[in-house]
């Protein structure tokens, strides 16, 4: 039995649907297509799959997808909560299942009609009286009920404390857009973004402007996780999972951790980062490229600090000279990210991490030994380091 999750599993297949504003089909169909593509990319058949995992927010049951795809016996299935915070939490589940022998081959998926169906931008409202709804009830009456509004609150304080400006946030958006321009899957494929356009765009929730906010997308993404031994016999170069970890921090609320002594402290991100480094034995200096969760531009900055690419409060300085761009210190979100490719709750980012390791990104950095992939911010979260086998 392993004592850590270092090098216990690898991603050997990735798959996704097209990303659109109106898929014209069910979320089940999207999930099934993404899973089928990932299994095929892995060189496996549905009969080889014995584990499935997704987000609690996914509307499509594992067994529904299994039936649709033709997966038979499942010895492992699970769910991870907290929206985009689950993006790598699901990977953690898959790696644990493979490392412990609970499953040999796990499909991780996420599919949503995020634009034509239920839109997160429309905010939270009713439902049964759970502790979760009581939580939202502290904010709904005052009108603070969308992800943009919750993240804007922390962003305002961060800007106040560090001097970070809206122009600094724009650099995140513009760097990622440069990547998206080259990515045919991206909604903003071929559409550049200038600083002037970013600044002229309307505020959604001040201080966040339109392009600081991710898209709403219809689409699905999936990947296949197996043991390193099994990976050796499969066609694609595996993306070895060098470390994977989850973290929830003190005084944690889902998106509204406004009551911490310092609101801008993100102990859950620090915790995920610390474990990633401890498990892998690597440091930030070893990371060649990154997929950093970007529901909003500002949260990219905070994660750069938590993962130690720069000191706390200095992320704006770190990125100002193009660190996130191709050729910079840390090419980031080379698919365009959720700001410019698609919002698939971070699962499209997992697939981009695998492409970076394979060397097949449309914005491929020369050096690609280790890639960091992270998950949502403001919620209990997760992160992983991918490496070449």
């Amino acid at each position: 039995m392993p004592t850590t999750l270092k090098d216990e599993a690898a991603i050997v297949g990735i798959g996704e649907t097209e990303y659109s504003k109106n898929s014209g089909r069910s979320e089940l169909a999207l999930a099934a297509e993404a899973c089928r593509a990932a299994i095929a990319d892995a060189g496996l058949t549905p009969a080889d799959i014995d584990g499935m995992t997704t987000f609690t927010m996914d509307n499509t049951d594992e067994i529904e997808v299994a039936r649709a795809v033709g997966v038979g016996d499942l010895t492992f299935f699970s769910r991870t909560p907290h929206g985009g915070g689950a993006a790598i939490g699901v990977m953690h589940q898959a790696v644990m299942a493979v490392a412990t022998g609970s499953a040999k081959a796990v499909v991780v998926y996420r599919a949503l009609n995020g634009r034509s169906g239920a839109r997160y931008s429309e905010g939270v409202s009713g439902g049964p009286t759970t502790s979760d709804l009581i939580h939202w009830s502290w904010y709904m009456p005052s009108g603070l009920m969308t992800p943009a509004s919750w993240v804007a609150m922390v962003t305002q304080r961060y800007m106040h404390e560090t001097g970070c400006t809206s122009e600094d946030l724009a650099e995140v958006c513009i760097a990622q857009r440069e990547h998206a321009i080259k990515n045919p899957r991206a909604f903003f494929h071929g559409k550049p973004l200038t600083l002037e356009e970013h600044q002229a765009a309307r505020h959604i929730v001040e201080p966040l402007r339109l392009y600081d906010c991710c898209q709403e997308t219809d689409g699905g993404a999936a990947c296949v996780v197996v043991s390193p031994e099994m990976a050796r016999d499969l066609p694609n170069p595996p993306a070895l999972i060098r470390a994977v970890a989850q973290g929830a921090g003190a005084h944690q609320e889902s998106m509204t951790s406004f009551y911490r002594p310092t609101m801008t402290d993100l102990p859950e991100v620090d915790l995920s980062a610390r474990q990633c480094w401890e498990i892998s034995g690597l440091t930030a200096d070893d990371i060649d490229a990154a997929v950093i969760y970007d529901a909003f531009s500002s949260i990219v900055l905070w994660q750069l600090e938590s993962y130690g690419f720069c000191k706390k409060g200095e992320a704006a300085d770190f990125i100002r000279d193009g660190a996130l761009r191709l050729g910079g210190r840390l090419p980031t979100n080379t698919h365009g990210g959720q700001l410019s490719e698609a919002y698939v709750h971070g699962m499209n980012g997992v697939n981009e991490g695998v492409r970076l390791i394979r060397g097949t990104s449309t914005s491929q950095p020369a050096k690609n030994e280790h890639v960091l992939v992270t998950a949502g911010v403001g919620v209990p979260t997760s992160g992983m380091i991918l490496g070449q086998a």
């Binding site: 009286t129 009830s137 009456p141 922390v154 304080r157």
Partner: protein
């Protein structure tokens, strides 16, 4: 109950056949544009514009002659009192469509909105005709009046030279009239009211706090054992794990720790731009609430504010903040 299943599918297929078609009637104005009808219209509408009714003023205006009020456009082609008789031309596809809705129980009809555009002022003697097309039929909608479908029509108006002089879109809702409830004395169920803010869900852990708000108090939960204050309320003390608690009342004085100005999306019941702040109360806990009566550009971190408890709509009391004097 609204129709469902295959009956609904077949019905909606029938509806599709109407989308895009001309309703089959060409309305020709009975009279050319004339000064008498314009004068009656202007008197009824209280419109004293000289260019419409006074030849001298009209001659001196940019028009150089009498013109008709643009908003009178549709009046030139309406059928008059016979429209109210209920009898209709059997060739009228729009009436046919309405009868189809009636046959499936969608007997209610209400006009919801219209848009118009005028290409030029009509002059005395212009002869106006109009054609109407069924532009679209919505998917089934659940509305405040009941389940139904929106029908959009577009009427294009032309003059004696076959030149377009304007257009008008008209939307009606054909809906299933909800059966009168047994307790028809309950007026609130039928009287439309303006949208209200989202109300909190109430449970064991927070209802007491909202009770305090009803009594105009901003409460802060306090651990009975270690006396640590905590907000938002929860059933156990995170410091000492005691389950017993009471509460204190805040003075409502505080400073803005962070804030946002919400612009999108605009949710019914709220006024935008909407300022929401995390306020650090002088007791030490933080509280999230609206900041009122201030230009959003003037709000800043560190600003002193004072809470008061007020009705924020017709139904809900909420602690809100204003800049401290």
């Amino acid at each position: 109950m609204a129709i469902s299943g295959t009956e609904r599918e077949e019905f909606e297929k029938q509806l599709e056949a109407y989308v895009g078609i001309d309703i089959g009637l060409e309305d020709q104005g009975r009279d050319p544009v004339n000064a008498a009808m314009v004068r009656h219209w202007c008197e009824a509408m209280g419109d004293g514009c000289g260019a419409y009714t006074d030849p001298v003023q009209a001659a001196a205006s940019v028009h150089g002659e009498l013109v008709a009020p643009p908003t009178m456009l549709q009046a030139w082609i309406l059928g008059g009192v016979s429209m109210a008789s209920g009898e209709s031309d059997p060739r009228d596809k729009q009436k046919e469509l309405h009868r189809l809705f009636d046959s499936k129980g969608f007997t209610g009809v209400v006009a919801t909105n219209t848009e118009q555009e005028y290409t030029r002022y009509l002059k005395m003697g212009d002869e106006i005709c109009a054609k109407t097309v069924i532009e679209s039929i919505s998917e089934q909608k659940a509305t405040g009046l009941g389940i139904g479908y929106f029908i959009n029509t577009r009427t294009t108006f032309r003059d004696q030279n076959d030149e377009e002089v304007g257009w008008l879109t008209f939307r009606v809702l054909k809906f299933e009239i909800a059966e009168a409830s047994a307790s028809s004395s309950d007026e609130s169920s039928v009287t439309p009211s303006r949208p209200q803010r989202l109300k909190p869900a109430l449970g064991h852990d927070n209802a007491w706090w909202w009770d305090c708000v009803e009594k105009d108090e901003l409460a802060i939960q306090r651990c009975s054992s270690c006396h640590a204050l905590r907000h938002p309320p929860r059933p156990m003390c995170g410091e000492c794990q005691a389950s017993d608690w009471d509460f204190v009342f805040s003075t409502g004085q505080g400073t803005i720790y962070s804030f946002v100005v919400i612009r999108h999306p605009e949710v019914p019941g709220y006024t935008y731009p909407l300022v929401v702040a995390v306020v650090e109360l002088e007791e030490g806990t933080r509280f999230v609430g609206n900041v009122l009566d201030i230009d959003p550009a003037e709000v800043e971190v560190g600003m002193s504010v004072q809470a008061s408890i007020e009705l924020v709509d017709d139904e809900m009391k909420l602690p809100v903040f204003r800049r401290a004097q």
